[in-house]
């Protein structure tokens, strides 16, 4: 195939090109990460294949696992009680690996709306919700959600009545959090699998609510 493209010197589109990975700055921390990884592999602490498997495992986690648990909690009050008591143990009942870091589930009610932030870094319940969205890690979200939650929620299209308490959980230490959203009106009689499809990642972070059907 003949290459007719001359992007570098003749880029006809109005938006800027995204730089290739190698063109972004290679920082000190990136160099340390690469060096430590190579040392751990050279010293046979783990193999490159172990590392690939772990990365693939983390990448395979998705909000679908958290959503399955929410749907079960909506349909089974005993399970909900156990989940509010110990999310990690409740996950095992559903053959979900929630990992060893304790996860706490906070329940939305007509009186209180919960939302999660990590102001100090970007702690997130990856084992149940997968990798965090980029905005969750942004300085804007981390600094504003704790300080003006109602304004940030409104930017997500979420209006919380002044009669309802907003409760922002700052994930500063050894816990991770997920929100148990309120079950939408109109979902009575739906089966667990169909209910799980209604549960979004953002509703489990608490930046949105699940609309009534």
């Amino acid at each position: 195939m003949t290459d007719h493209h001359h992007h570098d010197d003749d880029w006809p589109y109005p938006h800027p090109k995204q730089p290739d990975t190698e063109d972004a700055p290679f920082t000190d921390h990136m160099a340390i990460t690469e060096a430590v990884t190579e040392l751990l592999i050279d010293k046979n602490i783990f193999t490159a294949d172990d590392m690939r498997k772990m990365v693939e495992y983390i990448d395979s986690k998705s909000p679908a696992e958290g959503a399955r648990m929410i749907a079960r909690a909506w349909t089974d009050p005993d399970f909900k009680a156990r989940m509010l008591d110990d999310v990690n143990a409740a996950a095992v009942e559903m053959d979900i690996d929630a990992g060893t870091i304790p996860i706490r589930c906070v329940e939305n009610t007509p009186k209180a709306h919960n939302v999660i932030v990590c102001t100090l870094c970007s702690c997130y319940p990856r084992m149940l919700l997968g990798l965090p969205p980029d905005w969750y890690k942004s300085r804007a979200y981390r600094s504003r959600m704790i300080r003006e939650p109602r304004a940030v929620l409104a930017e997500f299209g979420t209006e919380i009545s002044d009669a309802v308490e907003t409760r922002v959980h700052d994930s500063t230490a050894d816990l991770r959090y997920m929100v148990l959203p309120m079950r939408p009106k109109g979902s009575e009689g739906m089966e667990e699998n169909a209910l799980a499809d209604l549960v979004t990642r953002d509703s489990m972070i608490g930046v949105t609510v699940i609309k009534d059907l």
């Binding site: 109602r150 409760r167 959980h169 700052d170 500063t172 050894d174 816990l175």
Partner: protein
């Protein structure tokens, strides 16, 4: 470890600014809140961060702060709260 505080206790976060790896955010230092849960004992992250064992473990609490007490210009209603995970050694009791 027996927890020093119980659910419902009024507490104040120490107003201290030591260097190092601290999990107590600046915006609650010196502020008053209410214990809403006693979570359990965890190795002290301020020690773990430097490769030390983090012993004795510290009790971790949920402390709920009224948003209007954290931010002088808070625009929402008075019942809005921020709930922060705070370790025992950062808390002092308040007179009821």
């Amino acid at each position: 470890m027996n927890a020093r505080f119980a659910v419902g206790d009024k507490v104040r976060v120490r107003e201290a600014y030591p260097p190092g790896h601290i999990r107590t955010p600046h915006f609650i230092r010196g502020k008053e809140g209410t214990v809403t849960a006693v979570i359990g004992d965890f190795a002290n992250p301020e020690e773990l961060a430097y490769g030390r064992p983090g012993i004795p473990k510290q009790t971790l609490y949920w402390v709920a702060f009224p948003q209007t007490g954290l931010w002088p210009d808070y625009a929402g209603p008075e019942h809005d709260t921020a709930v922060v995970d705070v370790f025992d050694h950062w808390l002092v009791g308040e007179q009821q």
